[in-house]
Amino acid sequence: MTDAAPAIAVRGLGCRFGEIRAVEDVSFEVSPGELFGLVGPDGAGKTTLLRMLAGVLRPDGGDAQLYGVSVVRDPEGVKHEIAYMPQRFGLYTDLTVMENLDFYADLYGVPQAERRARLERLFHFSNLAPFGDRLAGALSGGMKQKLALSCALIHLPKILLLDEPTFGVDPISRRDLWLIVHEMVEEGVTAVVSTAYLDEAERFDRVALLHGGRVLALDTPARLQRGLSGEVLVIEVEAPRAARDLLVDHPKVRRVTLFGDKLHVTVASVASDGPAIERVLRDAGLSVHRAHKAEASLEDVFIERLAG
């Protein structure tokens, strides 16, 4: 942590739904201008946590302060500091792109004199400018998400809370969306973002891995990756699924996971265990195209931490 007062200070935050503890005793701090990621399996508590930070869901334990404003004591006050984009953002499908942006500008009290400059900037990244007159309901999924993010950003918030902003978005629109977020962060905005794409999470300054409502790990992606026990051997092999099934019970293999058409095999040491593992595959008649040691990805770490 830096010496500066944190942008977000979460202390012992909790929330239950009936018997389910969606978030339990979560504490962390986010520094001003930090890009902070929330990852974890479905049901880990990411959305509940973001909703509490946004002041739309009341915690039943602990507190969170956003630039000193408490989500428990002043949930309305928190809303002036933030832009919150839930998974299903409330776009008005029967309004045009421009009308939606104007509506949110009104809602956030953005002065008329400043709107033009803000819109131009958002259009620059989103490539939405040519579609100002189109009904929001007639946009594709990727364009809808970019409009939602633009609406959330129309009022220059200090803190961005984004719940899976790239949900259902194709790889090209994903690149546009991330560029908008990175730009804002570079200008000093603090961002807390949840994602199901771990390649995206590798760009975060720090990542909290949530599981069962608790923080299981919290660190920079690089340190989380170095914390993986053992080494990762990446194998390119014909019939990778059959190869995985062959290796799953091998005594030297701690874990074997399919990544696209490659296998990631976690072993104590690639140098001493690698040759034996390749032999298993060759003996089974599978041709190994390539095998090499690689840095653990965040996804390797995620799987190790969650699969236990």
Partner: protein, 318 residues
């Protein structure tokens, strides 16, 4: 069986077209999916994937062209098409206020599973989807990844020869996505054909062949490895101390076709290899960006996707 498609073809499209007013959503698309194949369907949002799937599943009539599924014509025999397919979309229709078992029973009825087979099919779905100990839970209380496995199980209760999955794993975490694909492979071990759309390039690698659509047209069709191997353009991976600044600088440089963050590195596609090797390090140095590494790399499927779409005129504008 119709004479339209040979026996080893599960899904065929010939010049399939759908027009909405002045907008051509699907434009003379032709392909054939072999029996037992896992066929991936990719493309930017708005490229026409869902419209194509709706036509193939008999939910939407084509404006022109033809298609056949399981040997039945999608226009004239759409009822037979529906009986021979399983269908699951990202907006699948499980009943949140029914238990897991009740949902299975409901869909068994809907899909006309013979009464004497229902108990066996139910137990099989519970077993392979890993839901046996959750059979009496309310569906609405289950995490998304588990709901998705249930939805897939419900879609195959009637043992359809062909399965259509429209972005089945959107928003699902990586562990659940892997389990879901294991389930697809288990379910299809008996020769089921799978037609699946996705935005996850890692999942696209699990498919036997991929069709890439853009602006209503089919722009590429091949095995994932062959798509990656096909000549594209020189691609470099850069490791720098400031990815965002690097991307912004590169995007303004002549000869740079594409620059994007890729994990913590930057991928840059260029027109000329030698020029890039000379110019890029110089430019970064000028701007005070520390370059830790610059290697030419083989494209990932995402790089191929972005390249092909750009070559085909860019992502659709709606």
């Amino acid at each position: 069986m119709s004479a339209q498609a040979p026996n080893d073809i599960a899904v065929a499209a010939q010049e399939l077209t759908r027009v909405f007013g002045s907008f051509t959503a699907v434009d003379r698309v032709s392909f054939a999916v072999r029996r037992g194949e896992i066929f991936g369907f990719l493309g930017p949002n708005g490229a026409g994937k869902t419209t194509t799937i709706k036509m193939l599943t008999g939910l939407l009539a084509p404006s022109s062209g033809r298609g056949s599924v399981a040997g039945y014509d999608i226009g004239a025999q759409s009822e037979m098409v529906k009986r021979n397919i399983g269908y699951m979309s990202q907006l699948f229709s499980l009943y949140a206020d029914l238990t897991v078992e009740e949902n299975i029973a409901f869909f068994s009825g809907l899909y006309h599973v013979p009464r004497e087979k229902r108990a066996a099919r139910r137990d099989w779905v519970l077993e392979v989807a890993g839901l046996t100990d959750r059979r009496t839970r309310l569906t609405g209380e289950l995490p998304l990844g588990i709901k998705q496995r249930l939805a897939l199980g419900c879609a195959v209760l009637h043992e359809p020869p062909i399965l259509f999955l429209d972005e089945p794993t959107s928003g699902v975490d990586p562990l659940s996505r892997r389990r879901f694909w294991d389930l697809i492979y288990t379910l299809t071990a008996g020769g089921t054909t799978v037609f699946v759309s996705t935005h996850y390039m890692e999942e696209a690698e699990y498919c036997h062949r991929l069709a890439l659509m853009n602006r209503g047209k089919l722009i590429a069709l091949d095995a994932p490895a062959r798509l990656r191997a096909a000549a594209t353009e020189p691609l470099f991976e850069l490791k720098t101390d400031d990815s965002l600044k690097t991307v912004k600088l590169l995007q303004r440089m002549a000869g740079v076709r594409e620059a994007a963050m890729y994990g913590r590195a930057v991928h840059v596609a260029v027109a000329d290899r030698a020029q890039a090797r000379a110019e890029i390090p110089r430019r970064l140095k000028q701007e005070g960006v520390a370059l830790h590494g610059m290697d030419e790399i083989a494209p990932s499927l995402e790089d191929v996707f972005v390249f092909r779409v750009r070559e085909a005129g860019g992502a659709p504008v709606d």
